[in-house]
């Protein structure tokens, strides 16, 4: 009588593990043209959307990544000019109100911040249903984790790109407060309120003509009115 019940629970666990708990990626959010409020001139358009609330993060990342000290920022750059423009993620920076620069991290790193939840689940399954079920669950959780990493990496803004007439580039940059593995909502809001996101865009890269953008929190992130063409 004992053996069939064990077999039954093993079968149940493996079915649950294999079928029920996969990772399904959420679609990439889109910024509507009407949200192109941050114009350098009518030809180069920059839109910035910080994912700084739990609701926004849940929709795309299925977790409140802000509580793990991450600030995903969706950036869209569109070039309607006849000149080539170039951006480089090295020149996109987020500095908090206190003057601390948050680091850019790969999507895979942000995805791994969820790993412990899967491991806890596997351990609970292992204790409740036996080691084999725990192992199956761990394998499944590992697969979920790998897919999540791929998804977050795929949603990243490419490191650099040249944009020609009519082309655009969109993606997330994941900023993280250095050496912090968690932040309360209150601390997170306090950190980013009054923060500053700056972007340098090279126009006609050979001439090294630069446009600088700055976005300030809170409420609507707005571009500083004057953009500064500089050498």
């Amino acid at each position: 009588m004992k053996k069939p019940s064990r077999l039954l629970s093993l079968a149940l666990a493996s079915t649950l593990g294999a079928a029920g708990c996969g990772y399904s990626a959420k679609p990439m959010p889109q910024i509507a043209p009407s949200q192109y409020s941050h114009l350098v001139n009518s030809n180069i358009q920059i839109a910035v959307e910080p994912f700084d609330t739990d609701k926004e993060c849940d929709k795309v990342f299925q977790r409140s990544v802000n509580s793990k000290a991450y600030l995903p920022v969706l950036i869209k750059i569109r070039n309607n000019s006849s000149e080539e423009i170039k951006y480089d993620r090295d020149n996109i920076r987020f500095v908090s109100r206190t003057g601390e620069e948050w680091l850019q991290v790969p999507g895979g790193k942000m995805a791994r911040s969820y790993d412990s939840e899967g491991a806890v689940k596997s351990m609970v399954v292992g204790v409740a249903l036996g080691a084999a079920s725990g192992l199956l669950s761990a394998l499944n959780e590992h697969e979920v984790s790998r897919n999540r990493e791929k998804d977050f990496d795929a949603k990243s803004l490419p490191y650099q790109s040249s944009l020609f007439l009519g082309s655009e580039q969109q993606g997330f940059i994941y900023f993280r407060k250095s050496e912090k593995s968690s932040l309360s909502r209150k601390d997170f809001d306090r950190e980013i309120t009054g923060g500053n996101l700056s972007l340098d865009i090279l126009v006609s890269p050979k001439n090294n003509k630069k446009f600088c953008f700055e976005f300030n929190q809170p409420s609507e992130w707005f571009a500083r009115p004057a953009t500064m063409p500089s050498q």
């Binding site: 790969p106 895979g108 791994r112 596997s122 292992g126 490419p158 490191y159």
Partner: protein, 197 residues
């Protein structure tokens, strides 16, 4: 019947001990000496062309002793139980690898050459669960004095089998990922260098 049960228990204990010893201890940070001993570029005749190296750095997360965190160790349930850190600078490791690969391709190195190479290890990380999964992102710039001739990013992976979760295995997996990246970087750079001649 009792003897059979005892034998089964003994076999299971032996199996568990074997698994434990072969899987390596999940605890205790690993400190790797990253190396690059096996260039993948075929040997070519000298190009009579010299290059110099500029800044090579990395963007990985570092610990309080400035050692780059390049991976993790996990236990059977998937909990991260330890970190893997590099004893050497990732920028130096990348520079050494690129120097070996380009030497194989026939290029010389002279500190006074106006053609300079800059490099960044944007990210290097090895995760593990039965197999290693190393991901590497690199950036290479080729400059002629202040003019940028080429600026590109590359990514590569490696997935060797994880046996002992030892430092040398992490180092090997990182080397394999870098070799895979070099298979793209070197042809791209040599092409750009030919254009710049």
């Amino acid at each position: 019947m009792q003897q059979k049960t005892a034998m089964t228990r003994l076999a299971l204990t032996g199996l568990a001990a074997l698994m434990a010893s072969s899987a390596g201890c999940a605890f205790g940070n690993r400190h790797c000496d990253l190396k690059y001993e096996n260039p993948v570029t075929p040997q070519s005749p000298s190009q009579n062309y010299s290059l110099s190296f500029d800044k090579f750095d990395d963007r990985n997360e570092h610990d309080s002793k400035c050692r780059a965190i390049i991976g993790c160790v996990r236990n059977g349930y998937g909990f991260r139980t330890a970190e893997v850190k590099a004893n050497n600078q990732l920028g130096d490791w990348f520079k050494d690898a690129l120097s070996k690969e380009l030497s194989q391709a026939g290029y010389n190195f002279s500190p006074n050459s106006p053609k300079t190479l800059e490099g960044t290890v944007i990210h290097l990380y090895t995760d593990v669960f039965f197999t290693y999964n190393t991901k590497i992102n690199l950036r290479v710039k080729l400059k002629d004095k202040e003019n940028i001739l080429y600026d590109g990013t590359f990514e590569a992976e490696s997935n060797p089998l994880a046996l002992f979760a030892s430092e040398s295995e992490y180092a090997n997996s990182s080397e394999q990922a870098l070799q895979n990246a070099m298979r793209e970087i070197v042809p791209k750079l040599t092409n750009e260098l030919k254009k710049a001649k």
